[in-house]
Symmetry: C2
Subunit: 403 residues, 2 copies
DNA sequence: GACGGTCAGTCATACGTATGACGTCGCGGA
DNA sequence: TCCGCGACGTCATACGTATGACTGACCGTC
């Protein structure tokens, strides 16, 4: 339809390329010819938006992108480029008069001036852009993490780019190093979920202390080389297990995710500690990839064992769905014959029949907290490891065991 | 813990700040002192990585970020900065010898050189970054769109930043203009979902033909000012409705989303056309926000009407969940007493009992196609409007009506 | 009337890369 | 001997912004 490389189409009949030799002569450090008569616009009086002196170069010149630059604004306002920059940065406590500020602002508005980000990035040595590394945005949890992180970043004028490692549930994780390194110099920092990276040292090779790029980890073990932001899922797991034990369950099985990461390891530890606190409790477990069919099969092996459990603690809501399907396949009613719990409070937790008792994870807040920590780090501060509370949601999938 | 602003910590005992006066003298356009003896490294023979001449400035100098520049690589390799640039860009058909190329590559590797993106953005006038505007990434559909778009972008060396307008279901949509304008100059193009923007003209003011920024719309009416990429949901709706009519249903109600957008309007049209093709069919409908509780209430009003429907066609799987809950509340069995269909094939479609007959939407492919169109547009080509097929998934929630 | 101080701006430059315009060397043909 | 040419690199510069150093005018003071 239309070529994007053409001009902006603003109707303008001025000369397309003004005589550059003038500007060139000014730029040269040699003989400053025009410096003998400084502030030529001032001789006319007060700076104003309408150009009175030079009649040929009022509309924005367009080197290539068709966008006006601070030089164009300066010309229109009758001031120098530095003044435009000062005004735009808001740094004129005693350097620029109110009237000039107004003139510059009017000129900027008239031209629709937006500062060129690439130029200021180059000049300032910072890009105000951070990378978010997550397993997959198709997982609503990480979608929420992204949203939270974006909000926190936007509040401090940062942008977020996402590198979604194509991990999926239990699949191979990609070494982030190579694709990540490409954008390396365009980044000020990295916020990475530990479940998205192959190994932590993999990341620490290019980011983190020691390497050049500030790094904050999500869902990662504190004290391992980078500040962390976590959800206290272990507490949730403890509460869940204690809740079941309090209902009287003594044969409690655990359906756990086949993923080697700190978050899942800490769930296991919390479960064990909670169980150990109540004497006479038997446990069993099965490991499974994080998919519904796999979880169903794994749950069936638990239910078909010699001493079937009266309660099934699942590492994740997805696994709980598998437990539901397995229970239905064996004719077990939830919660009368089998109590089931999940973790995550994903969208379908209330779609299940009965509604699932689970632990809600503040994903949005996790993204916010992690991003805040990263931006603090960028400001030179040393953020503390943060841990966000998980909330136990008692719904309808748990009940005392049958006598 | 650690300050990110400090040096990279590479153990190096060289002088931290090499005498800059030398470099300055070279950079000046005035008396080119050293140009009388060109290629000083060549006098030693072949360029090599180990620096033999100057013993003090082999390690990368660090002006501020601690990262080596092409100048550092040039110094180490004994060539000029231009040569480094040529080698790195792969543009040396007859300009650089193999040996020099190797030397440059070795030097780059030794220093861990990465070209500064900000500088090349400035130089090239392009950022290789596009903006993706979606309602919310917490919606897995848009998460998948993002993943597809990212893959297509990465394949052509582009990055994607996301601006998630906090829309949610039926809530107010944000005018994208302001926050979007902030990053304007840092973008090469925009890929926007029509359900994320207030009005199309809102976007067209800053992007699209006429404004400076190439734009491709997702889920938007073709021919409205920007190239589009769509999913043929209308076809899916037709297939769904025809399927129900084929089963014998003659009282078909529609649960529709309270969102004014092209995608939903086209579903309605498709439904009407399909119904009109079969004589003697009665229809009813209810509009509802896109949440489960609202949908449940709306579905109840339909079921409680004077002539209750035997089939309920829902604009979205979320609404179908409401239909399930309403049916359960009225003691209706699905599909024996009531057939239900959805659109979207979201994760819980198979969690429902019975599994939901719906239409799967190729979200990933939509993102890919849209991004491809945008990148074609950036290349100066004129992409066609694309339409992706939606697939009808016949599962267990539909059956012939009771006699 | 010379001097110090404030106000209001400008000047020049650097950030790091990409690239068109030049040199220089060596060799082969006339 | 001289010219032309290909191979190999370098030079200089521009991209647009931010900012330390500087300057001119004006004003009050001794």
């Amino acid at each position: 339809m239309t070529r994007h490389t053409t001009d902006t189409g603003r109707p303008s009949t001025t000369t397309p390329t003004p005589p550059l030799t003038v500007a060139k002569g000014i730029d040269r450090p040699g003989p400053t010819v025009f410096s003998t008569t400084p502030m030529p616009a001032r001789t006319k009086g007060t700076p104003h938006v309408s150009p009175t002196g030079t009649p040929a170069d009022d509309q924005a010149a367009d080197p290539r992108s068709g966008r006006p630059t601070s030089k164009d604004v300066a010309k229109l306002a009758g001031v120098s480029q530095s003044t435009v920059s000062l005004v735009h940065a808001g740094k004129w406590p005693g350097r620029v008069s109110e009237r000039t500020v107004r003139a510059v602002n009017e000129a900027s508005a008239a031209l629709g001036y937006r500062p060129n980000q690439a130029a200021r990035h180059l000049r300032l040595g910072t890009t105000r852009t951070v990378l978010l590394v997550v397993p997959a945005l198709t997982n609503p949890f990480f979608g929420a993490v992204h949203t939270g992180a974006s909000h926190a970043a936007a509040a401090r004028d940062f942008s977020v780019v996402v590198y979604p490692s194509p991990v999926a549930a239990g699949a191979e994780r990609t070494p982030v190093a190579s694709p990540f390194a490409a954008a390396h110099t365009a980044l000020d920092g990295v916020l990475a979920s530990s479940t998205a990276v192959e190994t932590l040292s993999d990341l620490l090779g290019t980011a983190g202390p020691g390497a050049g790029l500030p790094l904050v980890m999500l869902d990662s073990q504190p004290g391992a080389g980078a500040p962390t932001a976590n959800i206290a899922i272990a507490d949730g797991m403890s509460a869940l297990t204690t809740h079941l034990l309090g209902l009287g369950h003594r044969r409690v099985a655990r359906l756990c995710a086949e993923i080697d990461s700190w978050t899942f390891a800490s769930r296991e530890a919390a479960f064990r500690d909670a169980v150990r606190a109540v004497a006479g409790t038997e446990t069993d477990h099965a490991r499974t990839p994080l998919t519904i069919p796999d979880a169903t099969a794994a749950a069936l092996t638990l239910l078909d064992g010699p001493t079937p459990p009266t309660a099934l603690v699942c590492d994740d809501d997805v696994l709980a769905v598998g437990a539901y399907k397995a229970a239905r396949a064996r004719g077990l009613r939830i919660p009368e014959d089998l109590s089931v719990t999940g973790i995550g409070d994903v969208a379908f937790a209330t779609v299940l029949e009965p509604e699932l008792t689970t632990v809600s994870l503040p994903a949005h807040e996790l993204g916010e907290a992690g991003m805040s920590a990263l931006l603090d780090l960028l400001d030179g501060r040393s953020p503390d490891d943060v841990s966000l509370p998980a909330e136990l949601l008692l719904r309808d999938s748990t009940a005392p065991p049958r006598a």
